[in-house]
């Protein structure tokens, strides 16, 4: 299931719609990294609201996306981690250390706007 990636201003928004296989997650990573360059995106938002499980592979892929995007000059925010998912992630021992998160899409956009103002 391919994740739709929308361009909004200087940002890319990947809005996950349903459970993703490992292959889907890897495909999302490649698509985002390519598009950061193609659209000269300054920020990436990955909306994981629809994910009811974030296991070690999903977290590793999100971390990779954030690190790769940063190397390409783009800031990533993960938004919409559900409370039960956060609980399970912590028990599993997974963290998103060094990666920005926000409650929802609106907060994520506000975060990127604030970052952009810092840069000016």
């Amino acid at each position: 299931m391919e994740v739709p990636i929308l361009k909004q201003g200087h940002y890319l928004i990947a809005s996950i719609q349903s459970a993703l296989t490992d292959a889907d997650l890897s495909q999302l990573r490649e698509a985002l990294i390519t598009r950061v360059g193609k659209y000269r995106a300054r920020g990436v938002i990955v909306d994981v609201t629809a994910l009811d499980v974030m296991d070690s592979f999903a977290v590793r892929t999100l971390r990779d996306i954030a690190h790769m995007a940063r190397l390409r000059g783009s800031e990533t925010v993960i938004v919409g981690i559900q409370p039960e998912v956060a609980f399970a992630m912590v028990q599993l021992g997974l963290s998103l250390k060094g990666i920005s998160t926000a409650l929802d899409l609106e907060e994520g956009l506000a975060f990127l706007d604030a970052k952009a103002r810092e840069r000016v």
Binding site: A19, L20, T21, D22, A23, D52, V53, M54, D55, S56, F57, V59, R60, Q82, E84, V85, F87, A88, M89, Q91, L92, G93, L94
Partner: protein
Amino acid sequence: MSDELRLAIASDVDIVHAREKGRELAAAHGFTLGDQTVIATAISEVARNILLYARRGEVRIRPATDTGRDGLVVIAEDHGPGIRDIAQALQDGFSTSGGLGLGLPGARRLMDDFDLKSAPGQGTTVTMAKWKRSHG
């Protein structure tokens, strides 16, 4: 035992399928949304281990009762290469596959009971259980 689910694991789609079925069964047996998520996440980790190390195997999920507690038992079994050093495999951050090394130790933390049996050349069986809490 008619309630037992047997799920073949041979591709990444099967991992998603197994954890979704596990969540459904947990929901049907009255587990909280939090525990459903915990069980589904643990299933995802052990199913991925099957795929990574043995290429194929099976996840079985069934309701169980133990000294008056209701719960769910998950068994992940493969006939792959097996694990040489079980203590090492249960250490955080140890991985021979380039992963995060959190699969088995993480699943152990998520579930209430966790048992790992493995012999080199014969395969690996993980048996884990989550029990319903009487309050909450």
